[in-house]
């Protein structure tokens, strides 16, 4: 579907570099970035936090029936990763290696989808099984 260009641009740093936030009080790290700590509420500050990209597979699936923007990409494998800093994050697994719960991964930089042949190309972190 055609849409404005700002939608992913505004979160490019998070999408390219796995940059989230951390609560200055309880030190809980969050991805994606959020304004308020889920534990401490409004009484604390959140600061930028760059994640290492290392983690393990917590769950995974292979998607055969995609949403509109992903018809060229399907089928593809997505996982929920337990990052070494704590939070769970969803992301694609690349290069067709067979996933297993508990397998170690590292973040890589890949194309997420393209808006047809003339639209924008969207880039994103994904995960590679190491």
């Amino acid at each position: 579907m055609e849409r404005g260009v700002a939608k992913t641009w505004r979160s490019a740093n998070a999408r390219y570099n796995l940059t989230g936030v951390q609560c200055t009080n309880c030190k809980t790290a969050y991805f994606p970035p959020r304004m308020v700590c889920a534990k401490c509420g409004r009484d604390t500050k959140m600061v930028e936090k760059k994640f290492s990209g290392r983690g393990v597979i917590y769950s995974y699936t292979r998607i055969f029936v995609p949403p509109h923007d992903f018809t060229e990409e399907a089928p593809y494998t997505v996982a929920i990763i337990r990052l070494e800093e704590g939070p769970l994050v969803e992301g694609h697994l690349v290069d067709g290696k067979k996933p297993e719960i508990g397998a170690s991964v590292r973040a890589v930089f890949r194309r997420m989808y393209t808006e047809g042949s003339e639209g924008l190309i969207h880039y994103h972190f994904k995960f590679e099984i190491v």
Binding site: N13, E72, Y123
Partner: protein, 349 residues
């Protein structure tokens, strides 16, 4: 003069064998392997392009160099397969290496030598004092027309170099660089065309050999050196055969060229080619070793560099992803049908 602070390469995991391509076109695989000195080439994943390859290589280079990416003042990406015709790859790379916004960036195109042109431009800015660090990338997901001889070699990969001049940071000093350039139409791709065209055997003597030989000779003259003074020599490698032939013609030995000869393993990565060859040599070079690099880009031109390795190279190696590791990590072989799917070349309408 400025030098190399760190480098990184990236090669996609996928491979297709020469014999698999030959099977489809009913060519004789062994004679092609013999004439090109190539058994397989890298293929980009269906979610990889010049931007993603450039980012992976640049991230490795920045990590290897140990610099603060916020101090990078220029990012140049050389490629003949930029994902956008208009909209820079370099800005994607700059964002993805967290270089901040206080920098200049641009995409370059000069067939297979845009990567070395990027290095020269970064050197100019560093040496003039305009910037502290520059990042130069050469990377491609090159296209060979199905059934054309180029299809056996056109592959995907990239290399990135961090350029700076603080002595304590430089792992290899660039002693001198010269270029030889002429208007020679040996290979081209028009705006909007999916595949490049080329002049067949015209790409040989008047193009590849003439430009590399002239640039290299100019460099040797300018530095007062002879081939014997160099531990290693890297020449642009469109296949496994040309660089050995041009080396012999110039008086270099096969032993000087072999360590930097990567195309037989992964194919011709175009703008990435000379950079990956140089990286492979730096992986094993010792302090004091001199390295000669001469690139070639159709259209046509050659950039030639004389480089001397410094003692800093040893301590930084623990942060390095070696070319051999980048090539051999979990390789996945694809057949021709999957290769077409990866290249998004299957018509669905």
């Amino acid at each position: 003069m400025s030098g190399i602070l760190g480098y990184g390469v990236y090669i996609p995991a996928y491979r297709i064998k020469t014999e698999e391509i030959a099977r489809v076109w009913q060519d004789d695989a062994s004679s092609i392997e013999g004439s090109l000195h190539m058994k397989e080439k890298s293929v980009p994943g269906n979610d990889e392009d010049t931007a993603t390859i450039s980012v992976e290589a640049a991230r490795r280079a920045v990590y290897h160099s140990g610099i603060d990416p916020k101090e990078i003042g220029a990012v140049y990406v050389g490629s003949e397969s930029h994902p956008y015709a208009v909209k820079p790859t370099a800005t994607i790379v700059a964002e993805a290496i967290e270089a901040g916004n206080d920098l200049t960036a641009a995409d370059l195109e000069f067939a297979c030598k845009a990567g070395t042109a990027a290095i020269q431009m970064a050197m100019g800015l560093v040496d003039s004092g305009m910037i502290k660090y520059g990042v130069a990338v050469g990377s491609d997901t090159s296209q060979g027309r199905p059934g054309d001889a180029l299809e056996y070699t056109a592959s995907a990969g990239g290399g990135a170099f961090v350029i700076g001049k603080r002595k304590e940071e430089v792992i290899a000093e660039i002693l001198k660089t010269v270029s030889y350039t002429s208007d020679t139409p040996d290979f081209w791709r028009r705006e909007g065309a999916s595949f490049p065209s080329h002049g067949g055997r015209f790409t040989g003597d008047p193009s590849y050999f003439r430009h590399i030989a002239n640039a290299t000779t100019m460099l040797l003259d300018a530095t007062g050196t002879t081939p014997k003074d160099f531990a290693y020599a890297v020449f642009h490698q469109p296949n496994g055969k040309f660089p050995l032939a041009v080396a012999k013609q110039l008086g270099f030995t096969e032993e000087q060229v072999r360590p930097g000869l990567i195309t037989p393993l992964i194919g011709n990565t175009y703008s990435g080619c000379s950079l990956i060859g140089l990286a492979a040599v730096l992986d094993i070079a010792r302090p004091g070793d001199k390295i000669l690099v001469t690139s070639f880009g159709s259209g046509a031109g050659s950039d030639s560099f004389a480089i001397e390795v410094t003692p800093n190279i040893e301590s930084k190696r623990q942060r390095l992803v070696r070319v051999s590791d980048a090539i051999n990590r979990n390789k996945v072989y694809v057949d021709y049908a999957m290769y077409l799917k990866h290249r998004n070349s299957i018509r669905k309408w």
